[in-house]
Amino acid sequence: MKLLMTTAVSALVVLGSTAAMADIKLGASLSASGPAAFLGDPEAKTIEMMVDQINEAGGINGEKIDLVLYDDGGDPNKARTFATRLVEDDEVVAIIGGSTTGTTMSILSVAEDAEVPFISLAGAIQIIDPVRRWVFKTPHTDRMACEKIFSDMQQKGITKIGMISGTDGFGASMQAQCKDVAPKYAIEILADETYGPQDADMTPQLTKIRNTDGVQAILNPGFGQGPAIVTRNKAQLGIDLPLYESHGVASDGFIKLAGAAAAEGVRLPGTALLVAAILPDSDPQKPVVTAYKAAYEAKYGETVSTFGGYAHDAVDLMTNAMKTGGSDPAAIRDALEATQGYVGTTGIYSFSPEDHLGLDLSAFKMLEIRDGGWTLID
């Protein structure tokens, strides 16, 4: 009996103390395992690291952040369940997450209904177009990547291109966006080929593009091993046309997989994070990306990825909004929407009631692979 009393009392003390501290509850549902783990894993690690950093520095306005993080494994159904649990059981005041467009779509309907601010880490333009009151996102869209590539082609006087796209979600979405936006830059797509995400050889498609009259450059929207194989096959066939890859393969791993010799001269749009070391000191993003890169790599012993950068910016944006908005979801949302000129790893964000992405084309840097490393073009 006495033991039971003691347990009960100590339980009360524990419960009481938590309530007294009045932590700010931040929810997250990420795809830290499963097929989208390459996105969710660095995102989850980044969020955990940053919340620890903020709490060690004394929290937000003296209140600690209590992070509730779930792993949805890339499954939209699980993401919906976790999102519901976050708002109903955990009573979080804000949500970060949705590593993929699929999981984001599940979470955003829950967030909209519960009126909780939500920052998505997924690419699709549909997330913020049309604008939803409670939904924001940090990654740039496929369409912006296409526009960045096309404007670089325009500068080089390229007007006729061949496209070879992956049939996975990323490749198919970017292929559609690029075809849609191409006329705006007076780009004509003469050949439009595809390959399966697990295909081992793309020389037939590339041979067809090479034999198409008038093609001046090749664009390869894709993700995973496809672009590396396309790059190797293009070198194998000795095709002497400029090759553009997507932001999806903007990592040092791509150069390693494709081989420095084959990847020589490949251009792609990437974020400042990728080229932290070669950014000029005058670049406003330099301190942010350098600090994040150093902290992440010291803690986890692996290279930072663009995806972790999306999570970094989301946590920063959200916690900045909490500094002004406190722990009231509506106030956090209003503060988030009022954010102007926040310098993140992905770009410089300025939200407005009409724009919940807040990035423009300058968020992308056009990069070229030279001697197995990255070079800034613009």
């Binding site: 050889d201 041979t207 995973g224 000795g238």
Partner: protein, 290 residues
């Protein structure tokens, strides 16, 4: 003309990859009538273990041998821990067990290794070989050569050796095989070890071309399975011909029709063949004794 040759070379390269995977299916199928859906995971393990031991500083040939040896042990463990306890269960249940095993191995590989894509250098460099205006990477020759060698070895094994015949006998009638003194348990262990070794060898040979990650096994197993069905399940000649035909079909469709439909065309042809010849091109037609 050079375009056609390029499509053919691409088809043969890809086809040899499928053939190597398909050949791995043969032994276990011949020993137990089980289609081992973890075969793709053996390929993945062969590639991944080679990548990581090579990165740890081992010379490439040694890393490859080690990968094949470890994968064989995984194959034996799969048989001992998952399939043997279910002995006597219908073949369909055993096939479902191998699907479960493939999910397990994939998950374990994700934790033990990592979630990134990897590659190790080609065995004979990357300088393409030019043939009448078309090109081929030297690694393709390794894959094609590997597929042909494995085919010859398997053909000799099943037709010329007593052990190979014991494997076939076990599949045919386990009880009768036991009665004539065949240690059927040992035959099963051997067939899993050999299948896993062939899978791992495939992984070692194809990784410089296809790259390797923890989840490449599913796609490879699917195409390898399709190739084996086309050629006739259980027949090494069928696996080789089925694999190369599938690769050529895909490459020629991508080249002359549309790359959008290359998988669809390949599978329609497979369906058509199986409709006319349900046992595949080289499969034995069996009669069930009632």
């Amino acid at each position: 003309m050079d375009a056609l040759l390029q499509f053919m070379l691409s088809g043969v390269t890809v086809g040899a990859v499928y053939a190597l995977v398909a050949l791995g299916f043969t032994i276990i199928y011949n020993a137990s009538d089980v289609v081992n859906f973890a075969q793709g995971e053996f390929v993945m393990l062969g590639g991944m273990i080679t990548v990581f031991t090579y990165q740890a500083g081992l010379p490439l040939p040694l890393a490859a041998v080690l990968a094949i040896a470890i994968t064989s042990l995984v194959g034996v463990a799969l048989n001992k821990l998952a399939l043997e306890p279910a002995r006597g269960a219908p073949v369909v249940s055993l096939i479902i067990i191998t699907i479960g095993a493939s999910i397990f191995i994939r998950g374990a590989a994700q934790l033990i290794f990592d979630k990134q894509l990897h590659r190790f250098p080609s065995f004979s460099g990357d300088a393409p070989i030019h043939i009448f205006g078309a090109t081929l990477v030297p690694q393709s020759l390794w894959v094609i050569g590997g597929a042909v060698l494995v085919f010859i070895a398997l053909w000799l094994f099943f037709t010329k050796t007593l052990t190979g015949k014991a494997v076939l006998a076990t599949a045919n009638n386990r009880l009768a095989a036991q009665l004539v003194g065949i240690n059927t348990g040992w035959v099963m262990t051997l067939s899993f070890a050999l299948s896993a070794a062939i899978g791992a060898l495939a992984g070692v040979l194809v990784t410089p071309i296809t790259l390797v990650g923890y989840d490449v096994g599913v796609g490879l197993a699917l195409k390898g399975f399709a190739a084996a069905m086309l050629g006739g399940m259980g027949n090494p000649k069928g696996a080789l011909v089925g694999g190369i035909s599938l690769g050529l079909l895909e490459a020629l469709t991508a080249g002359y029709l549309s790359s959008q439909y290359k998988d669809a065309v390949a599978f329609i042809v497979i369906l058509a063949v199986l409709f006319v010849m349900p046992q595949g091109l080289f499969g034995k037609s069996t009669t069930e004794r009632v």
